[in-house]
């Protein structure tokens, strides 16, 4: 009998983000906040540099006033294969599972915040307060996701609750896990109006992410890069750089 565990080693979840397509609409941010029971960030939280945003859209301005360009880049946990956050956890609350996911186990976490200090992407968030929602949002909490209490670390999980549910339902109905299936996508991917974010299995050569990686990373002229690649974290999120019409052919990358 093929156990679920044996089957699981076949997958390696990852994402490809085409920065050229991103219009900075923040739909992914909203989708993520509501899917993953992230508390509402108020002004005070931002002033203290303590908001919780598993995915954020960073905005950069280029050029002087009349000729200004806005550039957007969505950033979430990169699920690094060689994650700097993992070895510093004294209680093994963050580790790599067999599906290539960097996992945070809430009930193990004791809130030392070492992992957040060691993360070069600033995508780990500490619950400095007991999470709270306005009364009108209490009934929209996702029952499939744990509400994290004060004093523990949290971060993007690649919507593992959706992965688990799709796995279970495919086992029940006998369907195969389909790449690009709406149910097998993260909330941010489903919300993205411009198809900037693509989620999938890197170990499946037929998946969209594998094809994109092959096209953009292996080819010398591809647009693919990994964020802060020089740190050697080997992220599972690939960014495709913005198409620059004025750039010369001979530029690096």
């Amino acid at each position: 009998m093929v156990t679920t565990q044996e089957k699981k080693t076949e997958e390696k979840w990852g994402m490809v983000i085409d920065v050229d397509k991103c219009i900075g609409c923040q739909a992914c941010v909203v989708a993520c906040q509501s899917e993953n029971n992230i508390p509402v960030n108020e002004e005070e939280h931002f002033n203290q540099r303590r908001p919780i945003q598993w995915i954020r859209v960073e905005r950069y301005w280029e050029g002087e006033f009349p000729d200004v360009k806005a550039r957007f880049i969505p950033i979430m946990c990169q699920h690094c294969d060689n994650a700097p956050c993992e070895p510093v956890c004294p209680v093994f609350a963050t580790y790599h599972n067999s599906q290539g996911l960097n996992v945070q186990v809430y009930n193990r976490c004791i809130g030392t915040r070492f992992c957040a200090n060691n993360c070069p992407y600033h995508v780990r968030f500490f619950n400095f307060w007991e999470p709270s929602w306005p009364e009108s949002l209490k009934n929209q909490l996702n029952p499939d996701v744990t509400v994290r209490s004060r004093g523990i670390m949290e971060k993007c999980t690649f919507c593992i609750q959706r992965i688990r549910r799709t796995e279970r339902e495919s086992g029940r109905d006998g369907n195969e896990l389909k790449d690009g299936d709406r149910a097998l996508n993260t909330a941010c991917v489903n919300a993205c109006p411009t198809d900037t974010l693509v989620f999938g299995d890197f170990n499946n050569p037929e998946s969209r992410v594998s094809k994109l990686r092959k096209k953009e990373m292996d080819d010398h002229h591809g647009r693919g890069y990994k964020m802060l690649d020089e740190l050697g974290t080997s992220p599972n999120v690939i960014y495709l750089k913005k198409v620059d019409k004025e750039a010369k052919e001979s530029s690096t990358h």
Binding site: V103, N107, I160
Partner: protein
């Protein structure tokens, strides 16, 4: 008598008696404290000991007898707990489902009268939850039922692996500790995944 000389205290019979009483009290107090500690520990590690009705289930708003419905009428678990083979939660039936029979069955039974009261005033019954896992645990009935049904065959036997013989209980109580060690043991024995994210996410 010079200063610093030590004079042995005089031991009277009264003092001996007093010391004896204090000593006995101390020993028995220690024994009681130890017993209490053991009891609390056993409750913490799993289920409270089966004394003074400590492992009994909670009082429900309606004394629903599973014995009558399961043993005498032979209803299957899934007749009432309908989503158990399809979804994560087993689901408690709506009052309307009870009323499909109890509109006509059970006249004169005070518990059935209570049920009809709920139905007529359009209120749900506030059943007291017996089996509960913490919020950071995601237990899915469907997957477990599917696995054990394939393995053993028969739905009601599958349920009793964790819930015990509910059909024979007047008052439903928890029979397994449902602590993480309990879950992990079973997962190991059945070659199920033991990755943290199987349940914790």
């Amino acid at each position: 008598m010079l200063p610093g000389d030590f004079q042995e205290p005089r031991i009277t019979q009264r003092k001996v008696l007093l010391l004896g009483v204090i000593g006995l009290g101390g020993v028995s107090g220690l024994v009681v404290a130890l017993a209490l500690g053991l009891f609390v520990l056993s409750a913490w590690l799993g289920l409270p000991l089966d004394v003074f009705g400590f492992n009994e289930g909670p009082d429900q708003p309606i004394e629903f007898p599973h014995t009558v419905h399961v043993q005498e009428l032979g209803l299957d678990c899934t007749f009432c707990h309908r989503t158990v083979t399809k979804d994560a939660a087993a689901s408690i039936p709506a009052v309307g489902l009870c009323m499909t029979c109890h509109k006509t069955v059970g006249d004169g039974n005070p518990e059935v009268d209570k049920l009809r009261g709920y139905y007529e005033s359009d209120r749900p019954i506030d059943w007291v939850r017996v089996h509960r896992v913490p919020d950071h645990v995601h237990f899915v009935h469907e997957a477990h039922i599917r696995f054990f049904s394939d393995k053993m065959g028969g739905d009601s036997e599958t349920c009793s692996i964790c819930h015990g013989d509910v059909g024979g209980m007047e008052k439903v109580n928890q029979v397994r500790s449902l602590k993480m060690s309990d879950c992990v043991d079973c997962h190991r024995n059945n070659d199920a995944p033991t990755d943290c994210t199987t349940c914790h996410y």
